[in-house]
């Protein structure tokens, strides 16, 4: 299905710093037979929203500047702590380098101008096509004082699935990090007891990764057989 070397005729306007998720071809998921539809030649690149440049608009700039100042006080330049900032659909995402995550979230919590008291937890997303940074951990923070919400995204490679734990800063992430370990295999270094939480302790594999099959058996009804959901024709 995925053909990463295919030419990409379409680059959406206004997108910089392309982050190619996937490039799909054809239209009906049919492979290995003659193309009678004419859609077989279609190539459709799937690109995540690219990096944004300041000004980000609204209070996003205040937050970004406040973070930059506070990190600078600790001798940590904003550019080395973060990979990029993405503003999309009215939400701001800071891509933080994993080695600086704990310092970053401590600033989020402690700085009076930021005051993100509440962490809504962490979850994972697995992007097998994002080579070298397949595992993304996504954190959402809420500032009740300033009524703001931001997202922090941290990446790690499948080969080195380590991200520092932020339980020491936000104890609420205890179970969330265990869940993300359970489902994605991200190892949160420094977590007090990183054990499985939903799956049995001896379960092999991490079920919500993209390379973990959904499972299921064909169902027969009145002579017709319906394949399990992951083997049905996909229009994706």
């Amino acid at each position: 299905m995925t053909d990463m070397t295919a030419p990409l005729p379409v680059i959406p306007p206004g997108v910089t710093n392309l982050e190619l998720l996937d490039a799909r071809d054809g239209a009906f998921g049919v492979k290995g037979s003659g193309d009678t539809s004419g859609f077989g030649g279609l190539v459709d690149p799937r690109v995540m929203p690219g990096a944004s440049q300041a000004p980000f608009g609204g209070w996003f700039d205040e937050v970004a500047e406040e973070i930059e100042l506070s990190l600078a006080e600790q001798g940590l330049p904003f550019a080395s702590a973060t990979e990029k900032v993405v503003v999309d659909r009215g939400e701001i995402t800071f891509f933080v380098r994993r080695e600086h995550l704990v310092a970053f979230v401590r600033v989020l919590r402690d700085e009076p101008g930021l005051r993100f008291e509440m962490c809504s937890g962490v979850s994972g997303v697995h992007y097998p096509s994002d080579a070298g940074r397949e595992l993304h951990a996504v954190y959402h923070f809420l500032s009740i004082t300033h009524n703001r919400r931001i997202r922090v995204e941290v990446t790690a490679a499948d080969a080195d699935p380590h991200i520092p734990s932020i339980v020491a800063v936000y104890p609420t992430c205890d179970w969330h990090e265990r869940e993300t370990w359970d489902f994605f295999g991200i190892v949160f270094d420094g977590h007090p007891a990183l054990t499985r939480i939903a799956m049995p302790d001896d379960w092999p594999g991490h079920p919500q990764r993209k390379d973990y099959p959904l499972g299921g058996i064909p169902v027969e009804y009145k002579g017709a057989t319906i394949p399990p959901p992951d083997q049905r024709r996909s229009y994706n």
């Binding site: 998720l21 996937d22 799909r24 459709d44 799937r46 690109v47 995540m48 929203p49 999309d88 659909r89 009215g90 939400e91 995402t93 008291e117 509440m118 962490c119 809504s120 937890g121 979850s123 997303v125 697995h126 996504v138 959402h140 809420l142 009740i144 009524n147 919400r149 997202r151 936000y170 104890p171 609420t172 992430c173 205890d174 179970w175 969330h176 869940e179 499985r196 939480i197 939903a198 799956m199 049995p200 079920p207 919500q208 959904l214 959901p229 992951d230 996909s234 229009y235 994706n236």
Partner: protein, 458 residues
């Protein structure tokens, strides 16, 4: 029938290997094969505690225990009646909903999320739909009538959810009358859900772009009558408990968790509001037009089980206020976005047997319009595409901040859906609330968190 010996076939003998000693079943060889003796050992040699170690009693409360709200397993370490350590074991109701949604269309996702927190299905649906609408960029295109119906249904759902919280919480602490009357009154609301959505639970009523169908004839009057009846009955039910000295003896000062603890543990909902912080996403970050409704955020300052109980009682009253205002605001109009590619093409109607396709729609696609049939087929089987990106939407569910994080890779299926369920996060407070207290008070503390295991485990 009792036997001292269990005989295995010779194949089994070979696999364990001759002479292999099983520590739990010593065996010996005979001409018929190896014979294992599983009569057990001497209890004293098994249980002999190391010298000088104090006796620890670890009690597994649950996962099959009526007062643990479903399949919650509490692992309690006891010193007499005092809980010295409390841990939760969860995962018994994990159904892989988030994973399954990656293999279904965006619209089908609603059918899955509604089964997460099964006492507040309409909240799950709304959170998911708002997130999908944000990804589609159609948040402002949702018809007003659809938003008003969503608000009305959610608030009715909040009342029914709080009624279960009071009913089961009361039952767990021995107030059985509260249980009987709580479930009786919840039934009134489920009747409304059945009338409007066709189902009492797992409604799949709120869909990306609006709601599945308009209110049926007579629904508004029925809801008005029910609200009136509920006002009276709620007063009767809660009067059984408010100022009841036995109830207060079991709840006042129990399950204490102050604001600092709530903030650190990420606790939201009634537990957070019982510390006096008026944090309610309906007020601070309004969605579905909540800014147009007149209601109060109920708080208490006692930080205990009784305070959370009072908050639920008073929130039900506020919810009924919102329902009445929503009824007044209902104006005729569409209940789905105008974009036909997003609006669910298969028009539904509630038949005498529950939910079904509308006969007119079937007639049109099957015998009048070929194009309508093609579009129906494409949109039902394939669904709509969503531009790549991610969105996080949080709403105020009866239990706190219900967040929905949705990632799209540009296809007709979600790339990843994650629910930040308030029950999951709030359950982390059990240790903080219960340790150092009595075993019996753990029950009250858990009941005041009101966890729903379908939401916790997903």
């Amino acid at each position: 029938m009792s036997t001292d010996h269990v005989t295995y076939g010779s194949a089994g003998t070979e696999s364990t290997g001759p002479g292999a000693e099983d520590p739990f079943a010593p065996g010996y060889d005979t001409t018929e094969g190896r014979i294992f003796n599983v009569s057990g050992g001497d209890w004293d040699t098994i249980s002999a505690a190391p010298e000088g170690e104090k006796e620890r009693i670890v009690v597994n409360m649950g996962p099959q225990h009526p007062s643990t709200h479903g399949v919650l397993r509490l692992i309690l370490e006891l010193d007499g009646e005092t809980v010295t350590e409390a841990r939760c074991g969860i995962g018994y109701l994990h159904t892989g909903i988030e994973k399954n949604m990656e293999f279904r269309s965006w619209v089908q996702g609603v059918t899955f999320v509604t089964r997460m927190d099964y006492l507040a299905p309409l909240f799950n649906e709304t959170a998911y739909c708002l997130a999908v609408e944000k990804l589609l960029g159609i948040t402002d295109d949702i018809p007003e009538r659809a938003s008003t119906i969503r608000v009305m249904m959610m608030e009715l759902n909040r009342v029914s959810s709080h009624l279960v919280a009071l009913a089961t919480g009361g039952m767990e602490l021995g107030a059985l009358s509260a249980m009987i009357y709580g479930f009786r009154d919840r039934e009134l609301i489920l009747d409304i859900f059945e009338m409007v959505t066709g189902l009492r639970m797992n409604n799949a009523y709120i869909r990306p772009g609006g709601v599945a169908q308009d209110l049926p004839d007579g629904a508004e009057e029925k809801i008005r009558d029910t609200v009136k009846l509920l006002r009276k009955r709620l007063k009767d039910t809660t009067n059984l408990l408010v100022d009841n000295s036995i109830w207060m003896g079991r709840t006042v000062g129990i399950g204490y968790l102050d604001l600092t603890g709530c903030m650190a543990l990420g606790i939201t909902g009634p537990v957070l509001r019982s510390t006096g912080l008026p944090h309610d996403l309906r007020k601070s970050q309004p969605y579905c037009g909540y800014e147009n409704y007149d209601f109060e955020v109920v708080t208490e300052t006692t930080c205990d089980v009784y305070g959370r109980f009072l908050i639920r009682v008073n929130e039900m009253e506020q919810s009924l206020r919102i329902v009445e205002q929503a009824l007044d605001r209902l104006k005729p109009g569409p209940v789905m976005v105008a974009d036909k590619k997003i609006a669910w093409p298969s028009k539904l109607s509630v038949g005498s047997d529950g939910q079904g396709n509308s006969a007119e729609h079937i007639k049109e696609i099957m015998s009048e319009s070929m194009e309508a049939l093609i579009h129906h087929f494409k949109l039902v089987t394939e669904g709509f595409k969503v531009e790549p990106g991610q969105a996080y939407v949080a709403i105020e569910s009866p239990r706190g901040e219900l967040g929905c994080h949705v990632v799209s890779s540009g296809g007709t299926r979600p790339y990843r859906v994650h629910f930040r369920d308030p029950s999951f996060t709030n359950l982390q407070a059990v240790a903080a609330m219960g340790e150092g207290g009595q075993v019996a008070d753990i029950i009250g503390a858990v009941a005041s968190i009101d966890p729903v295991m379908g939401g916790v485990d997903r």
